[in-house]
């Protein structure tokens, strides 16, 4: 206790902290499995499922059981928060656009013009790759569709687009994407 702040951690809280600490090791192991190679989203999902399952199993043991619903909720929020932090870091490492440009300059080992940097991006796939990749994601999610040489929003895509613009205006963001 410091003042009126009580640092006592119940067993369920300790279980959540251990599960959160285990996550990077599980992810590192799964990312090396041949069947999951280069499938970053699936690697993260599988690791999350394993860690959450281990957390749930551990809480079933009498010694680690939560003493109240509030302790169980605390334990869950700690684990969920940790997974969100890992997800943000993982997304940055595996999908970061600016980071990709930095690494392209790092791998190139010599100065590049803007055009050379754009062409060398993602080990020679070029910056057009990111557009094809993101567009492919939107197409497979059914948020846009092809129509001749154009890209057209679907109904769901239009709703998300309008909500996105409203949120950007509410947050007063001047530059996005």
């Amino acid at each position: 206790m410091i003042g009126h702040l009580d640092f006592t951690a119940g067993p369920a809280v300790v279980v959540a902290l251990i599960a959160a600490a285990l996550f990077p090791a599980v992810l590192a192991a799964l990312s090396r499995l041949p069947r999951l190679r280069a499938r970053n989203a699936l690697q993260f999902l599988a690791s999350s499922v394993i860690v959450v399952a281990l957390w749930a199993i551990a809480l079933c043991f009498p010694a680690m059981r939560a003493s109240s619903v509030a302790e169980l909720a605390t334990s869950f929020m700690i684990l969920a928060s940790a997974l969100i932090v890992y997800l943000e870091i993982w997304a940055l490492l595996s999908r970061g656009y600016t980071l990709g440009l930095l690494l392209t300059l790092f791998r190139g080992e010599h100065p590049m013009s803007d055009a050379q940097l754009a062409a060398s991006y993602r080990q020679g796939e070029g910056v057009g790759w990111i557009m094809r990749h993101r567009l492919g994601g939107l197409l497979s999610a059914g948020l846009v569709r092809r129509q001749g040489d154009g890209i057209v929003l679907t109904g769901t895509g239009a709703i998300i687009g309008i909500l996105y613009r409203a949120a950007v205006a509410a947050l007063a963001l001047k530059i996005t994407g």
Binding site: I2, G3, H4, L5, T8, S31, R37, A38, A70, E71, A73, T74, I78, S81, I84, V85, E88, L93, S94, R95, G96, Y97, T98, L99, G100, L101, L102, L103, L105, F106, P111, M112, D114, L117, Y121, R122, V127, M131, H133, R134, L135, V144, R146, D149, G150, I151, V152, L153, G157, I160, G161, Y164, R165, A167, L171, A172, L173, I175, T176, G177
Partner: protein
């Protein structure tokens, strides 16, 4: 314990209000504003809880605050940086909700997003523009080497 949850939720609401004001008033990076203010409001709420007459449970308070702010931060990150969401937003403004594919490519990748990200690398001092072209600064090289090692540890072949 439920008081700690309420205190955590109240602190998260206070942070959201602070963010909404600061994003309108400050010219600093929006990402820096939301992350730094989240940490500062957390510290301020912890200090304030020391002055409270009744006991506050640290873990439930921190879990509630952390979970709520991280949920908002995740949404904010998507709004602020997602190329896909920006494409949807701009398409929703276009006539007939449609744009030629090549125009999308030119607009987001070659003209806008790419140029802006190169400008960020230059502004943050991670890269330098020389007569031969763009090259990494010593700081940029250190950061890139660290990220490269991290990618190797998790078998990430490329980012983007």
């Amino acid at each position: 314990m439920s008081e700690a949850f309420l205190l955590g939720a109240a602190a998260a609401l206070l942070w959201l209000a602070v963010v909404l004001v600061l994003l309108r008033l400050s010219k600093r990076s929006p990402a820096l504003i939301v992350v730094l203010s989240a940490a500062l409001v957390y510290l301020a709420a912890l200090l304030a809880s020391l002055a409270l007459a009744q006991r506050v449970a640290f873990w439930p308070f921190s879990a509630a605050y952390g979970f709520l702010t991280l949920c908002v931060l995740m949404l904010f990150g998507a709004l602020y940086k997602s190329v896909s969401l920006r494409m949807l937003g701009d398409l929703s403004l276009a006539v007939g909700h449609a744009l030629p594919e090549q125009e999308l490519l030119a607009r987001y990748i070659e003209e806008d997003s790419f140029g802006r990200r190169v400008a960020i690398l230059l502004k943050e001092g991670h890269a330098l523009r020389t007569a031969e072209g763009l090259k990494l600064s010593p700081k940029g090289r250190r950061i890139a080497a660290g990220i490269y090692r991290l990618q190797q540890a998790f078998a990430i072949r490329a980012s983007g």
